[in-house]
């Protein structure tokens, strides 16, 4: 490894190459509890830097772990022993916002919320909004095909990617897609890299589609004494002909955790809360929609429905929703946040079964998520230092995944596979799909140096 470090330092300069134990610790984790020290960290500043690192790694057969802000929840950017962590956060320039074609060209390290703000200044709108949008990069969002509350109406990150610049495993630079909206020449390589978690190539730039700012937004909060009523309401709203921008569900434990951490005055005597937002460019229509939403909520057993009166109130509601996951730490030292999706009609049943699993094992499972698109985040709360609790976690997760598959759903809606879901991938994909995917990996990364051991289980 010393030889590789020397080569990296000679090619990139010593300032971009970190080897002190303190630095290795800082780059050893992601948004989960896993950690593993890499051997060296490179702070790349350009596509050329990335090419240089890949060329050295390919020559020496050393694994590379690409890393944005490492807020991932599946272990996708956890290094392996003897690896190079390749940080892309310094590649944070918005290269162009093309107002006429409504596109943005950005480097991979741009923070999602910064792009959203830059677009908004020009009246444009970048819709993908993962809950981590202040602490995750566009590159990471694309590599995990991140979703977020607004997916219900606006789709996931991948729906906005029109083209990519990708450094391949042999150091060549591949450019895919372009500004034309329609393009069917050859295979859709852009899509191939979306959700590839750094295993097929390293995304260094992206061309993204923008929309026009919706202009008017209404946000409401509905409180339910029964979790079943809340999940039933989700379908009822959509059946009423309204496509809310977001339709978020939190169960009682989630509400209690946020309230404990942030004291926002949320109700503590309900089983569930929905946060529903309608938006659009026609003020009257947006208002009509939120009124319909409120009516449907009441018809389906909501105890109280309130509409945010101003931007501050709306911001408070969203701050609460975005804090659910981290605030769970108030309840238990560790959490494992899953990310299953089920067909929307199966939400009430999925929640019922997940709660039953928690009861059976005697560990709390908090449920929240993007109920509108059937994406639920059951979070198992536990103390890893307690061997009895730790031993229960894996079987619980297995049962949660089985529940999702039984109900016609799958393992992950937006977090990705990383390392945590590896044991369940074959079951979810089937042998043929897994074989095709392994062949793709082999074709693009024959030396298996790009984030090895992630996404696809070893043969």
């Amino acid at each position: 490894m010393e030889k590789i470090i020397t080569q990296l330092q000679e090619t990139l300069g010593t300032e971009k190459v970190l080897t002190a134990p303190v630095d290795l610790v800082a780059y050893s984790f992601d948004g989960t509890f896993e950690q593993q020290l890499p051997d060296v960290v490179v702070l790349s500043e350009s596509t050329a830097d990335v090419v240089a690192v890949v060329e050295i790694a390919a020559r020496e057969g050393v694994p590379i772990v690409p890393r944005g802000m490492s807020s991932g929840l599946a272990g996708g950017s956890i290094p392996m022993p003897g690896s190079i962590v390749l940080s892309l956060t310094r590649m944070n320039h918005i290269l162009e916002i093309d107002e006429e074609n409504m596109t943005a060209t950005v480097e991979a390290g741009v923070i999602a919320v910064d792009l959203e703000a830059a677009a908004a200044k020009r009246g444009l709108f970048y819709p993908p909004d993962p809950s981590s949008n202040k602490q995750s990069t566009i590159g990471g969002n694309i590599a995990c095909n991140a979703g977020g509350p607004r997916c219900l109406k606006y789709g996931v990150t991948g729906d906005y990617v029109m083209g990519l610049k990708v450094v391949l495993a042999d150091g060549r630079v591949l450019e895919t897609g372009g500004k034309p909206i329609k393009n069917v020449v050859g295979y859709d390589l852009t899509s191939l890299f979306i959700g590839s978690e750094g295993t097929l190539g390293i995304i260094t730039e992206a061309l993204l589609r923008l929309l026009v700012q919706p202009g008017f937004v209404h946000t409401s909060r509905a409180e339910f004494l029964s979790l079943e009523d809340a999940s039933r309401t989700v379908n009822a709203i959509l059946r009423a002909g309204v496509v809310p921008a977001t339709l978020e569900l939190m169960d009682e434990t989630a509400i209690a955790c946020i309230e404990e951490a942030m004291q926002l005055g949320l109700p503590l005597d309900v089983e569930a809360m929905l946060i529903i937002e309608t938006d659009g460019s026609d003020e009257a229509a947006v208002e009509r929609e939120i009124e319909t939403v409120a009516r449907v909520c009441r018809e389906n057993g909501a105890r109280k429905v309130s509409v945010a009166q101003d931007e501050a109130e709306r911001a408070r509601l969203w701050r609460a929703r975005r804090s659910v996951s981290p605030s769970l730490a108030r309840r238990a030292p560790n959490k494992l946040g899953e990310d299953i999706t089920v067909p929307r009609s199966a939400i009430p049943e999925a929640i019922r079964r997940i709660k039953a699993i928690g009861t059976r094992y005697g560990l709390p499972i908090v449920v929240f998520g993007h109920a509108g698109d059937g994406n639920l985040h059951p979070n198992v709360l536990f103390d890893r230092r307690d061997p009895e609790q730790w031993a229960k976690v894996e079987p619980i997760v297995g049962e949660i995944f089985q529940t999702a598959l039984d109900l016609g759903g799958t393992l992950s809606g937006e977090h990705g596979v990383g390392v945590f879901k590896l044991p369940y991938v074959e079951h979810a994909l089937g042998a043929t799909s897994l074989d095709v995917q392994r062949r793709i990996k082999q074709a693009l990364d024959p030396l298996n140096i790009l984030n090895p051991g992630k996404v696809l289980p070893d043969m």
């Binding site: 303190v22 702070l43 490492s70 807020s71 956060t89 951490a261 942030m262 730490a329 030292p333």
Partner: protein, 411 residues
């Protein structure tokens, strides 16, 4: 009256260890989005999340005993408190830093530049290695000697702070404030050489023990004057007095237990203005002046004084406030905190550059603040970045308004 024997409580004794404080961290990384140091270097080692992980790495044996690099990670921090404020898991990163810095100092790992700063303060009773008797040089340029000069008993003591006492570019802050006091008949005293450094730099260097002499001395000095109120124009002195003095002195509250009310100058000025004690012109008589206000971390987010400066600005004729993107308790650090000027000036300079650009984006031609250190740092940044934004203290703006009212009276 307090005696020299007042027991000094160990500030660490009642709460959790640094390692226990880290347990709630889920590594979500939200703190990176508000950390001024990380936002400049884009190196995770400079982030709050990494510092939390480093504490755990020692406990878990992933790292051996702390070394110089480890210490560097903890001292390269502006202590702006944004991470603690934003943390959705409620991790007290500020407390983790405080405890770890204390341990590091004890283990002899306080960086040399910072150890020198503390030694300088211990010897000279101020941060600048000048004779402490020279604290009032700034009064020489005033039109008339301030009435608080040499007063032995008064209702209010004005604690000037080291920066304004010894750095000529900051003289205008106390100069403005005493002129306002004099024109409104405030019964105040200047402490002169009996004002010692408040002790904050030592505390943040992890050497709280060395700060205790200073703390005791300062409290006795103001008590000897029979003062009921102590007013600060320095946000950091104010923060340290209000947050750490009581614990260090073994009391619950300076006002309840010792009869001393601690006030920042902006609170004092807001009260004066709202009581109508300052003669000002009507809005229609003056031309509009667009300003933006920078919340000092020690005053706003960490001190809870957020509205007082805005109340002052709202009373001043012609002054229109436009807020920066990050304001109030989400304010972005000026870059002048955490003793980094002594230890890692390049970090502070980069942060200051970002903040002054935020100010320029508002279109305001003047940036107002309420802390000499913020003002020095941001004025330097404006020069370095060639940004035409003037930097002034709230007190200077109040004095301008008084001058204008007076000159129009003479017309």
């Amino acid at each position: 009256m307090m005696s020299n024997e007042t027991s000094v409580k160990d500030v660490n004794e009642t709460t959790m260890s640094a390692d226990e404080e880290t347990r709630h961290c889920v590594r979500c990384g939200l703190c990176l989005s508000v950390c001024p140091g990380y936002r400049e270097s884009l190196n995770e080692t400079d982030s709050p999340r990494a510092r939390v992980a480093l504490v755990q790495a020692i406990t878990e044996g992933v790292l051996d005993a702390p070394n110089e690099r480890y210490a560097g990670a903890f001292f390269r921090c502006l202590l702006c408190g944004a991470c603690t404020f934003v943390c959705p898991s409620g991790v007290a990163v500020d407390r983790i830093l405080e405890l770890t810095r204390g341990d590091l100092a004890e283990q002899g790992l306080l960086p040399e530049a910072l150890a020198e700063l503390d030694a300088r303060i211990a010897q000279y009773r101020n941060i600048s290695a000048e004779e402490n008797e020279g604290r009032l040089i700034w009064v020489d340029n005033l039109p008339a000697p301030p009435t608080g000069l040499g007063k032995e008993q008064a209702e209010v003591a004005y604690f000037v702070g080291c920066v304004s006492s010894f750095f000529p570019r900051s003289y205008q802050v106390p100069q403005a404030l005493v002129q306002i006091f004099d024109r409104t008949g405030v019964d105040y005293a200047l402490l002169g050489g009996s004002e010692w450094c408040c002790g904050y730099p030592m505390f943040i260097n992890g050497e709280m023990d060395k700060a205790r002499d200073l703390i005791r001395h300062n409290v006795e000095a103001v008590q000897a004057m029979g003062v009921k109120k102590i007013v600060f124009s320095c946000a950091s002195c104010y923060h340290f007095w209000s947050h750490s003095y009581p614990t260090a002195l073994g009391v619950n509250d300076l006002e309840d237990d010792l009869g001393i009310e601690v006030m920042h100058a902006t609170e004092f000025l807001a009260d004066l203005l709202e009581a109508g004690a300052l003669p000002l012109q009507g809005d229609e008589d003056v031309r509009e002046q667009v300003v933006t206000y920078h919340d000092p971390c020690d005053l706003g987010r960490k001190g809870g004084v957020i509205e007082a400066p805005r109340r002052v600005l709202a009373q001043l004729p012609g002054v229109r406030l436009v807020e920066m993107a990050e304001n109030r308790d989400s304010s972005h650090c000026c870059g002048g905190g955490g003793n980094l000027e002594s230890f890692a000036p390049e970090v502070g300079q980069a942060v200051a550059g970002s903040r002054i650009r935020q100010a320029a984006e508002t279109g305001a031609k003047t940036l107002i603040s309420a802390c000499q250190q913020c003002e020095r740092t941001l004025a330097n940044a404006a020069r370095a970045e060639r940004i035409r934004v003037r930097v002034k203290d709230v007190a200077e703006l109040v004095l301008d308004a008084l001058d204008e009212a007076q000159s129009s009276e003479g017309d």
